[in-house]
């Protein structure tokens, strides 16, 4: 592996001196090292991923065999109900599934885990701009973990207001079992997550702007970094709104204010203290954050996928700048489309029309990105490694998720499919089949850099294949349910004549879902085993260009054992300037001018 290293004399921060440097706590618990913090995020989120998956199985079980006794654990958990999931616990299940997956898995694993681990490495910095802030951004997740964890423990066992937490249901404690103190816990938890992401995003922006290595211009940044940068911007501008809204709802619940509570409610025979509020206000505030949040949950994945695809196609990324522009475009438009979550919410239909247009427009940059990925694959020399397979499946699945989005953007169609399983299919294709698969790919791709060992490729491919099959079995059928109008969040939809005959399909989906979760055991085994017994690797196992691959694997404290100097963009694969099919950013251009290729006008 030929990373041309310009050795620097200061090796005081050599790698793997962790144990003997400073106390254990300062090194591994409240560590200031961005890599450790990244791994802390990675491990926590993976474990929450497990929790979220189990919650999802609970939902699927109820939908496939409603009110029937869960094998093994049903009696143990729900004996009070004769082994069956009680309806209010079902509301808790889907609320917590969404909450855990969105706030504890996807957002922190993208921005927190990979953002932290990759940003300094990929821009050639020795750490984040504000290491302490970075450490805090992780430890502010823990109050959130605790809040949500606690809300599981005592009745009513978790918030039941849906992850969107629409008032009055969530603002009036009497309105629902799940909207008693568990809901307060939920709001606090989400607020803490917000604080954490806020700290992160400030840090990322500063780092990316300020700490790039010499020669690393903005347009030499890998797509991952661009995506992280845009994501940070989105978070910085959208999050305060959610946090504020969260506090307003807390006040409605605790102090008896009336931001979201209209006059004359009679909920469960108790009258809220005040009135004069407007439930739809919450929806506006919530979606003003949560729609950009959708892009916070997909952009970094897009960035990482771009890097992986370019690397394993052994050819430059197709349309680098259009990719950058489309990411920025998504970020910009992302702030003016939130209303498409509210077409039938009772807001002024005229607004619906405006939001419909902007929503249609935001499909455009996504389309451009897809085409560019196809362009990247075209004419390359594709290596079907596990990361590549996951990245390709991201593209293929994201096409489905993107296209199904157009149905919801079309307001009249949305009248019918709003809050049906069509939506559920849509965002699971974007978030699970899309982001989660990309994250898997990223883990396989950067694992060598994180632990200096490879993950097992064969296990990886089996893991990919089974996951790919079962996730489509689980989620594609949801489109069909949606077409029938099958609504979300019903504990027992089969009371309705219209949906009674959909039971077999739901059972099929549940079986696929169980298999999908079971498949992840392969991943867990491969992951844990490879940490300790994987084949050790050098600096650049994949033959990739970007800076992190010139650092040791794993990089020690301070990352680089030399001062990286950047000569070119990260995607110069198969360049005629060199004989290798990759061309690291730090490698000086050939001395012989004849070999140099003129940069194409573009």
């Amino acid at each position: 592996m030929s990373a041309v290293a310009v050795p620097v004399h200061d090796t005081a921060h050599g790698h793997d001196q962790a144990m003997d440097a400073g106390t254990f706590i300062r090194t591994y618990v409240f560590s200031l090292d961005h890599k450790i913090i990244g791994l802390q995020f990675l491990f926590s989120t993976l474990l929450w991923f497990l929790v979220g998956g189990l919650l999802a199985l609970g939902i699927r079980w109820q939908l496939a065999w409603p009110w029937s006794d869960m094998p093994i654990i049903g009696r143990m958990l729900f004996s009070a109900e004769g082994g069956q999931i009680s309806p209010e616990f079902y509301t808790t299940l889907f609320t917590m599934h969404a909450t855990v997956m969105i706030f504890f898995v996807i957002i922190p694993i993208l921005a927190g885990a990979f953002g932290n681990f990759l940003i300094p490495l990929m821009i050639g910095a020795d750490d984040m701009a504000f290491p302490t802030l970075n450490m805090l951004s992780y430890w502010f997740m823990w109050p959130a973990f605790v809040c949500i964890g606690l809300s599981f423990l005592w009745p009513p066992y978790g918030a039941g207001g849906g992850w969107t937490s629409y008032p009055p249901l969530s603002a009036v404690p009497e309105a629902a079992p799940g909207s008693q103190w568990a809901q307060t816990m939920w709001l606090l938890g989400v607020t803490f997550v917000g604080v954490s992401s806020m700290m992160g995003s400030v840090n990322y922006m500063t780092t990316i702007i300020q700490m790039r290595a010499p020669g690393m211009t903005m347009f030499r940044l890998p797509m991952t970094i661009w995506a992280m940068f845009i994501t940070a911007v989105l978070q910085a501008f959208a999050l305060p709104v959610l946090t504020a809204a969260g506090f307003m709802q807390l006040m409605d619940r605790i102090l008896g204010t009336g931001f979201f509570l209209p006059e004359g409610l009679i909920v469960n025979n108790s009258l809220p203290a005040t009135g004069g509020g407007q439930p739809i206000l919450w929806q506006h505030l919530f979606w003003f954050y949560s729609h950009p949040a959708v892009y916070i949950m997909i952009l970094p994945a897009m960035g990482m996928v771009s890097d992986i695809i370019a690397c394993f196609s052994r050819k430059p990324l197709f349309g680098y700048k259009p990719m950058v522009y489309s990411i920025s475009g998504i970020a910009g438009l992302g702030f003016i489309v939130w209303g498409h979550h509210m077409f039938v919410s009772g807001m002024n239909p005229l607004l619906g029309m405006t939001f419909m247009v902007s929503t249609m427009m935001i499909a455009l940059p996504s389309a451009v990105k897809v085409f560019n990925w196809l362009g990247t694959v075209w004419g390359g020399k594709i290596q079907f490694t596990t990361p590549m397979l996951f990245a390709l499946s991201f593209v293929s699945m994201f096409i489905i998720g993107g296209l199904s989005g157009i149905f919801m953007a079309a307001t009249p169609v949305d009248i019918f499919i709003h809050d049906t399983y069509f939506i559920v299919a849509h965002f699971h294709y974007v978030l699970f089949a899309g982001t989660a698969m990309a994250v898997m790919g990223a883990i396989y791709f950067w694992f060598p850099k994180m632990f200096g060992r490879m993950m097992d490729e064969n296990l990886g491919k089996i893991h990919f294949f089974l996951t790919f099959i079962f996730l489509n079995g689980t989620f594609f059928t949801m489109h069909i349910l949606g077409a029938v109008g099958f609504p979300r969040r019903l504990a027992d939809p089969y009371d309705y004549e219209t949906f009674r005959h959909l039971l077999p399909m739901n059972q099929f989906m549940t079986i696929c879902a169980i298999a999908m979760v079971a498949t992840q055991i392969i991943f867990a085994y491969n992951f844990i085993r490879s940490i300790f017994f994987g084949t050790p690797v050098g600096r650049n196992p994949w033959g990739a260009n970007s800076l992190e691959w010139t650092a040791p694997s794993p990089p020690g404290h301070g990352n680089f054992d030399f001062q990286p100097i950047v000569y070119r963009g990260p995607y110069e694969y198969g360049s005629p300037e060199v004989d290798t099919d990759f061309y690291p950013q730090t490698q000086p251009p050939p001395s012989d001018p004849a070999r140099r290729v003129q940069p194409e006008k573009h």
């Binding site: 491990f43 009070a80 994180m450």
Partner: protein
């Protein structure tokens, strides 16, 4: 990398705190009993369809009549009488605005307890040998039960199943009578100055509460017996049971609102046994027995 190991442990521990959440769901109060017993009982039950009469134990007939007189006293300091919370119609219900005291335990200076019920537990059904002829007179009489100043004038009434309760209302305001227990439950209004007859037509094993829904502080107790042998102590704590069957063992029950069946007493005068509100004795023909039963005030919430 060492850190990874440590971190994994940490996060696993963190999750360990979260996963068992499910265990906190309430478990059914597990009812444990012997399945074999159930099987036996089930076959035994299936044995005969029609319900069989429990055969009453054969008892000797009384040889004559005797009278039991007595007083029931409280030893120790009686509990202070609580003031009733009279929150409406004070003009009628608090004459002169004076606070009204609860009547659940009323003790006079000498310690005599008011409103203790003492009655014969079991009497063979309509067996003339067990009922003194004198009682025939008021067999079908009526017992007055009046309310004044939002109080039931008789705090504990007792009557025979054949007698009618004459519910009166001497107040200018309306009341109602909520009979929550006993042989015949009911709940009816008693308009101001009106009266309502109420026939229970059955026997109650023990006193039952009656109350007024409009004035929740108004409460009283009633006892309905098919035999005439029952008494309620007066405000000196005295009672008299005339012409009890003599020559046979008698089982009387002693009940008071606060103490329910009075647990234990010290008796002067001859008794066979007293426990858990059951007074066992045997009278000779034409005996006039005088009893003094004294119970510790702790049984009544006193000190």
């Amino acid at each position: 990398m060492n850190s990874s190991r440590v971190l994994m442990m940490m996060s696993l521990a963190g999750l360990a705190a979260v996963l068992p959440a499910g265990c906190r769901r309430p478990l059914a109060d597990s009812v444990s009993y012997s399945r074999s017993n159930v099987a036996v009982l089930r076959t035994a039950l299936g044995g005969d369809k029609a319900a069989t009469e429990a055969t009453a134990a054969v008892v000797a007939d009384p040889t004559g009549w005797g009278t039991l007189k007595g007083v029931i006293k409280m030893t120790g300091t009686p509990p202070p009488r609580k003031t009733l919370n009279i929150d409406k119609e004070q003009n009628v219900c608090m004459p002169g605005g004076k606070p009204v005291l609860a009547e659940d335990v009323v003790v006079d200076a000498s310690g005599g307890i008011k409103d203790v019920v003492i009655y014969l537990e079991k009497v063979p059904a309509d067996n003339p040998k067990w009922e003194h002829p004198d009682y025939a007179a008021d067999k079908a009489g009526s017992v007055e039960f009046d309310q004044k100043a939002c109080l039931f004038l008789t705090h504990v009434f007792a009557l025979r199943a054949t007698q009618t309760l004459d519910v009166r209302n001497s107040d200018p305001v309306g009341h109602n009578l909520n009979i929550a227990g006993g042989p015949r439950t009911g709940n009816f209004t008693v308009a101001a100055g009106s009266s309502q007859p109420w026939l229970f037509g059955g026997e109650a094993a023990e006193p039952f509460p009656v109350s007024c829904g409009i004035h929740p502080w108004m409460s009283a107790y009633g006892l309905v017996r098919s035999n005439p042998y029952f008494a309620v102590t007066n405000d000196k704590g005295q009672f008299e049971l005339k012409n009890l069957p003599a020559g046979v063992p008698l089982k009387l029950r002693v009940w008071q609102e606060r103490a329910k069946f009075i647990k234990e007493v010290t008796a002067t005068g001859k008794i066979d046994k007293f426990s858990k509100g059951r007074l066992e004795l045997k009278l000779d023909n034409d005996e006039q027995r005088q009893l003094e039963l004294s119970a510790a005030s702790t049984l009544f919430g006193g000190t």
